[in-house]
Symmetry: C2
Subunit: 408 residues, 2 copies
């Protein structure tokens, strides 16, 4: 399998080089040296076209910088740590709308005044992962206290009382669950539990609960992953119930692969590969033009979202992680083949050889629809996270010799 | 100008035929005979793919049916009036979330339970026009009372105290005005004041205020219409301030042409044609593929909305009205030429010869992106309103002989 090793090596080099270029883009263009935090509304060449600060993206960039600093020798640089700290301090000072209450803004002005608040948990989740990772590299207890307290609040909102989120209770709104919620909680627990026995123990029950909730989204006798289900695990009526987001299901796949690995559950691993990797890939991959469709309706109706057939950067970033991790964990060469298929499409269409970073939004045919490199929802997160994780996965595969650990 | 008359006659016949076909589509597919109200989530062939009831679209369809019943001999049919009444009764019973408070839901279940509430005035506005028009055809005072009381509430929300809308006051949110608000109020006043001297008098000051507010959206020394401005009439920073919606500006154009006509103000008419018809048409018309772009950034940055370069049905419906009305009022043949250009594009790309009604969402290149005929935002409104108004405008033009009234 020397040829296979060579292919893995080539991908590792290509991905490492791309990660360098992507990180350089954010280092060069995104730092607000006056107020701290990051500009994420960046045009094709990195020009700042808006100075608003989206809390999701602030928290994510703090997390990304710290994770790179912690895990990659070549990124252990003061400028990365300093920018992460400045981002963390900006969030500590401004993210919460009415401290000491925990609710965070969705978007702040450049100098930290709240502009909009979402009635969901996600700003708070990305705040939490940023704070915890910042604690891991600085050991400053203020950051960890914030992370732990916010995590407790998020769990209360999800499992006890959502009233603090500000959503009205309406008699016609079905008691429903978006798969994003247990996914996000699982991601948070992974973050907070890393090499932390007390946290691992604290979240053991919740972790199992999240895994069970995610598995409930496999519906229709195992033939489809549905994005929204009822609180009691059934399909919901109408478009809401039929809604599918293949990239999101595939992202859930690598969260669940990590869970199965921790549990040492190979049966679950096989189930996850089947239902969360292969099933959404087969339904979501556009056989005519390549790339993953953004949204689908499980009964084949036309989705009502205008962007349903566009190709977005993040489902492709997530699919690269999932299929490489699936291959790494199972040894199934079909998964490596799909990794290569997705990565080839991605490098060909999203990568910008001229200015660096990736385009975020392509038409169905693969043409760049928006030239922005960052915006209200795209920041320094999915692309470098995917590249960093793939580089590590490829490195581990190459190190352990010809056959992956879990090889069949 | 016999050739010109022939062209107008041909368009009138084409449009009248299309209106018949569009109305037939909604009559056949959209009536909920069990609960009253209308299904608007209709697939290409009219199949109901979701049974939710969006209050914007319920109110609009009641209005449209009554308007057709009142103004067109051939639509004065019991089935149209009965469906409008059943829609009105459904709204009376279910639209308000917590009666007697006035706030209406954004979307209801099929049997009328509230699912979502928007923190804006628009559900209430479409409720109001539906109720007023239903009163005009039935003379049932309950409907008019609802319309008048709701209108008073809307005005209080806009001009006195928005607290009842439920939007939090945030220190970083700029005091801004979307052009939709004065446009919508102007549209409501037109509706309530028709052949009603008391109402005309009641709203005289507000009507002038709305016109002045709309004119304030002409910024950059008269070179651009901006969708959002500050409360004191200045450009806002960032994407929000630079945002342009050419179809919306053109729609404001015909609202303002009606206002100028009522005032007998030909100077204002010329200004409206220049700033609200020609300026956004020139910036928004896609010279490569035809059709009006959905969103633009006044400085030429890439908009952050994924659908920015799509072609939507409603800007084209509105442009047909505006340019034909502009021609009718001014006699400028350049405006008739643009009407024809827009109408040709529209009939070629949006019209569905197979199943009737129009597609709503095309790619930049003019390919159908969503095959739905109705959904959460497209119902029985913009298409038949445009066709009905254009048929009337063309009829009046043909009747008054060779030269339009305001001919230069």
């Amino acid at each position: 399998m020397e040829k296979e090793r060579e292919a893995l090596q080539t991908w590792k080099e290509r991905i490492a080089k791309e990660l360098d270029s992507v990180v350089a883009f954010w280092l060069k263009h995104s730092h607000d040296r006056e107020h701290g935090g990051f500009f994420t509304c960046l045009g094709r060449n990195g020009q700042v076209y808006d100075d608003l600060k989206y809390v999701w993206l602030q928290g994510r960039q703090v997390w990304m910088y710290c994770r790179l600093y912690r895990n990659f020798e070549r990124f252990r640089r003061p400028e990365i740590l300093d920018a992460a700290k400045a981002g963390g301090e900006f969030l500590l000072r401004f993210a919460r709308v009415a401290p000491p209450a925990k609710k965070c803004a969705f978007v702040l002005t450049r100098d930290g005044r709240p502009m909009k608040v979402q009635r969901t948990i996600f700003s708070e989740c990305f705040y939490t992962i940023g704070m915890n990772e910042l604690w891991r590299v600085t050991k400053d207890a203020r950051y960890q206290n914030e992370a732990v307290e916010m995590m407790d609040q998020i769990i209360r909102w999800v499992r006890e009382d959502p009233a603090g989120l500000g959503r009205p209770q309406l008699s016609g709104a079905p008691a429903s669950e978006s798969m994003a919620v247990p996914m996000m909680l699982m991601n948070l627990m992974d973050q907070l539990s890393e090499e932390d026995e007390a946290m691992t123990k604290k979240y053991a029950e919740l972790s199992d609960w999240c895994a069970q909730r995610i598995l409930k989204h496999v519906q229709r006798d195992g033939k489809a992953v549905l994005e929204n289900i009822s609180d009691d695990g059934k399909e919901l009526p109408g478009c809401l119930g039929r809604h599918q987001n293949p990239g999101h299901a595939i992202e859930a796949g690598w969260f669940m692969l990590q869970y199965a690995r921790k549990k040492g559950d190979t049966k679950l691993r096989a189930q996850v590969i089947d239902k969360f990797l292969l099933l959404p890939f087969r339904s979501g991959w556009d056989t005519e033009h390549g790339g993953l469709l953004y949204f689908q309706d499980v009964d084949g109706f036309c989705p009502t979202q205008l962007e349903w057939d566009m190709k977005l950067w993040w489902p492709h970033s997530e699919a690269m992680i999932s299929f490489l991790m699936g291959y790494s964990d199972s040894g199934d060469p079909a998964l490596l083949q799909i990794f290569k298929q997705v990565a080839e499409y991605t490098f060909k269409h999203f990568h910008d050889p001229e200015y660096g970073e990736w385009f975020g939004y392509l038409t169905r045919e693969g043409k760049v629809a928006l030239t922005i490199k960052g915006g209200p929802f795209k920041g320094c997160f999915h692309v470098p996270r995917s590249l960093a994780m793939c580089e590590q996965l490829l490195g581990a595969l190459l190190q352990r010799g010809s056959a992956p650990a879990g090889s069949k």
